[in-house]
Point group: C2
Chain length 209, copies 2
DNA sequence: TAGATTGTTAATCGATTAACAATC
DNA sequence: TAGATTGTTAATCGATTAACAATC
């Protein structure tokens, strides 16, 4: 019954399509062809059509795609029209940066808890930081969708062990280590130093860039 | 004369090899086979050998690889044994997080300048924040290898236009937009919302995870 | 020498690109 | 209708995996 898995290459392009289409919408563009989208995104027109057709036919032959309609369809596919309860674990530099990140719609991403080794408050008492000791019971009592992991690498796996069986659906991991969690939990890693090291590789080896 | 380009898939695995080998070294492990490394990393033994052999033969038939030696070789390949002068442009949440990020060796990454719209100081006067107006002349007078872009998306391309022709070798871009720069400059993007959106896609569509 | 494991070539698999029939 | 552009199948390309000879 299960359809073929969407390859991760396609999944990584979906947010890019969403971003470019949002820009086009803001510029007031109403229609776009795969050829035009190709020029903007750098992907081939063929690839764009292939990608979209994994999820359905959003275009009109001879015409192209309606920008707003396609943008909204992609938002639905990704799941951007739902709300998510988020907990930030580890309130160091990265946890704080994520807390205040303005890049995504904060109506959809409710940070309902912030945890760190040290209890306390932050931002003139506006943020209550709870002890990590209380994370497990918090996850049991609240409907947490996403855990943002901003703890040191030694702590990351311990937190993930707490998470399994708590109905958490995704982990956004900033710790520089691979974590595992039991059950149906998606994990997305941001490994900053790996990204920097890739950059340095290309700087050191420009013939491969 | 130019050899075949190393594929980006390989380049992205190099920092992972480096990370796992560093861990192994710290644990006191002296030798490792591609099969053992496969179990640790999740890559196939075949792939690991293929990847390494793009850069030379680092192993010994019948024996395996010496951990420290291989780790050092990979560091050399990536370019981790050199020093880099870094400038941070945009000192908001992300710029600050990167400034204080402890994940990479700060001896090798000298932050020699921090720029923002507003001049000032930070961290009890320890950090001087210069006006972005002065960035261009700073780049001319100093040998800057890497520019970290932590500005809003509308500003990002303007900064990149300043950068071309200034001997900058790499841009680490955190702005949620694609930037371009003339000349032989490597660009590495960290698109936080795209990463989050991928996570949400898999949360919403677990059958594709 | 025998066993182990690399380095490397060949086979397979999957993703991208090209082509074109369908159709607006 | 003619022109344009999608949706989709087929061809190509590149990356991964398998196999094995080389050799420590």
């Amino acid at each position: 019954m299960q359809k073929n898995k969407i390859s991760s290459a396609v999944v990584r392009r979906l947010p890019k399509y969403f971003r470019f289409l949002t820009n086009l919408e803001n510029e007031g563009v109403e229609k776009i062809s795969s050829k035009q989208l190709s020029e903007i995104t750098g992907f081939t027109a063929s690839q764009i059509r292939q990608d979209l057709n994994h999820f359905g036919g959003f275009g009109q032959q001879g015409y192209g795609y309606r920008v707003t309609e396609l943008k909204n369809s992609i938002a639905d596919i990704i799941g951007l029209n739902k709300e998510y309860n988020v907990v930030i674990v580890g309130f160091g530099r990265i946890g704080r940066a994520i807390y205040q990140y303005k890049g995504f719609d904060t109506k959809k991403f409710n940070v309902i808890g912030v945890f760190d080794l040290e209890e306390g408050t932050y931002d003139e008492g506006k943020i209550e930081i709870k002890s990590i000791d209380k994370l497990e019971s918090f996850l049991e009592k609240n409907d947490v969708d996403i855990v943002v992991l901003g703890v040191p690498k030694n702590e990351a796996q311990k937190i993930c062990d707490m998470i399994s069986g708590k109905n958490v659906k995704g982990i956004w991991n900033f710790a520089p280590t691979n974590v595992e969690v039991e059950g149906d939990v998606a994990i997305e890693n941001i490994h900053l130093s790996e990204s920097l090291y890739s950059l340095i590789f290309y700087m050191s080896n420009p013939e491969h860039y």
